[in-house]
Structure formats: structure tokens, C-alpha cells
């Protein structure tokens, strides 16, 4: 598949101050490509949620943006710690976020379900001690 755009952003664990900067760049980049406001909102919300998850929960990772003529794809890949129970993590209201994350207004246990709701396709693979990979795609045609 030939991509129109392919870009990766490293996301540091615990970097609350800069959390969201990758999502801001991704949103502005996609806007310049002329993607519709509705698709852009879905991508932006899911992207911000997954970036925050990397900051709050992971030991660090990478957020990758891929754009082809049919869809936008976001891949979040971290280096651990992995999710022991994915079904539990996908439940609204369940959260293991730190007090620091909650102070900033996050950690309500809405992130993963909200990503799934916004994406056209959503996949999560996780192994404890190895890491978590979330792949989301967003169809460009409505």
C-alpha cells in the first residue's frame, strides 16, 4: 500500500506536560490534507485518548499515523507493561490511572471504549511484560 503520509511520534511515559502534542500535530496535519471535519474529529479524539494512555499507563511507546486514499490509520505501540485483562480495560468506568492523571481530569475509564466508538475499525493486542498495540482505522468516505 502506498501511503500519502507516514509519520511516527515517540511518546514518553509520564510526560504530562507535553501529552497531547503529537495529537495536536496529527490533527493539524490531517486538516491541511483536507480531511472532512467529522472524520477529523473522530481521529482527533481517538488519537488524543491513545496518546494520553501511552503517557499515563505505558512505559513509553510510539504513535504512528498512516494515511492512504481510503482511510487514516493510527497505531499505538508501547513497550509495556501490558494489560492483564483486556475485557476489563474495555469496560467503561474501569481505570487504573494514577492520582496525577486524575488531577488533570483524566482516568475516568472512558479512554479505550471511546477510541472504539470513534474508530471505524479497532484492534487491541496486549501481552503482560511485552506491551500493547492498538490499531485504529478511520474510513475517509462517509
Amino acid at each position: 500500500m502506498a501511503y500519502i503520509l507516514e509519520k511516527s511520534f515517540p511518546v514518553e511515559a509520564g510526560a504530562y506536560t507535553t501529552a497531547g502534542e503529537a495529537s495536536t500535530t496529527i490533527k493539524r496535519t490531517l486538516k491541511q490534507l483536507g480531511i472532512s471535519a467529522e472524520v477529523l474529529r473522530h481521529v482527533s479524539v481517538a488519537c488524543y485518548e491513545v496518546e494520553l494512555n501511552l503517557v499515563i499507563h505505558s512505559l513509553g511507546g510510539t504513535l504512528t499515523l498512516l494515511v492512504d486514499p481510503e482511510k487514516v490509520t493510527l497505531i499505538s505501540k508501547d513497550v509495556g507493561p501490558g494489560i492483564p485483562d483486556i475485557d476489563m480495560a474495555m469496560t467503561e468506568g474501569f481505570s487504573t490511572a494514577s492520582a496525577e492523571a486524575r488531577t488533570l481530569g483524566f482516568g475516568a475509564g472512558m479512554g479505550l471504549p471511546n477510541m472504539k466508538r470513534n474508530a471505524t475499525e479497532f484492534d487491541i493486542q496486549s501481552e503482560v511484560g511485552v506491551g500493547t498495540t492498538i490499531t485504529m482505522s478511520f474510513a475517509l468516505a462517509s
Binding site: G20, S23, L104, G105, M110
Partner: protein, 124 residues
């Protein structure tokens, strides 16, 4: 639906950013200090009423294309936050009212809450 100018008058607020955009229209509102919930519920052309002051309020609002933020209880965002709001193009209002009262006043003046697609929640 109402204009940002009406929102400002109803919450007895002061515009800190976006004085030239007071005629823009907003359709719904959301009152919350929990950005996780804001990310899950809010639609476009919305006003966010919050007592939470940190840059993530602005980042969350940018992702959702929120039109206007009302900081309640007279809270004043930092210069850094105001500069961010300028850059993003979000109107920022500071209101002396509590979050509850600001939301209540906007609601009784006809600005509805955001509704989730499942129809479970109103006025989050």
C-alpha cells in the same frame, strides 16, 4: 442555540480570548471537570463550562472543535493557556459564577446539554 455574546452575558462573564468572535453560534453545552467525560460526550459547536484549569482543557477542546470555554468561579487561566487558546482559535470566558450556577443559567436560557448517541446521558 445562542451566540457566544449571549453566553457571556448570561454567565456574567468577561472575554479573555476571542472578543472578535462573539457572534459565533453554539448549539450545546457541557459542564465537567473530567476531560475523559468531555472527550466521550461532547459534540461540535459546544460550550465547555469547567472549574479545571490546566492546558489539557485546551487540548481536549481543540480535539473536539469546542467553540468556547467558560472558566467558572472566577478562575483565571495562565498567560500560557491564553496564548494556546489564541493559537487554537477558541474563545475563553471567565465567569464569577460556580459551575453549577453557570450551567443552570445557560440551561434555563435555552442552551441544551450534549446528548450521547445511545441517548443515555443528557446534560453531562
Amino acid at each position: 442555540m445562542m451566540t457566544i455574546r449571549e453566553v457571556m452575558e448570561i454567565v456574567d462573564g468577561k472575554v479573555l480570548v476571542g472578543a472578535d468572535r462573539l457572534d459565533e453560534r453554539v448549539d450545546t453545552a457541557c459542564g465537567s471537570d473530567l476531560m475523559s467525560d468531555v472527550l466521550a460526550f461532547v459534540k461540535e459547536k459546544a460550550v465547555l463550562i469547567t472549574g479545571l484549569i490546566n492546558p489539557h482543557v485546551l487540548r481536549t477542546s481543540e480535539m473536539l472543535d469546542i467553540t468556547c470555554i467558560v472558566f467558572s468561579r472566577g478562575k483565571m487561566p495562565s498567560e500560557e493557556m491564553l496564548a494556546m487558546a489564541e493559537e487554537i482559535g477558541i474563545t475563553v470566558i471567565s465567569s464569577p459564577l460556580t459551575t453549577y450556577t453557570a450551567c443552570g443559567e445557560l440551561y434555563v436560557h435555552g442552551l441544551p446539554g450534549t446528548k450521547r448517541k445511545t441517548g443515555v446521558t443528557e446534560g453531562v
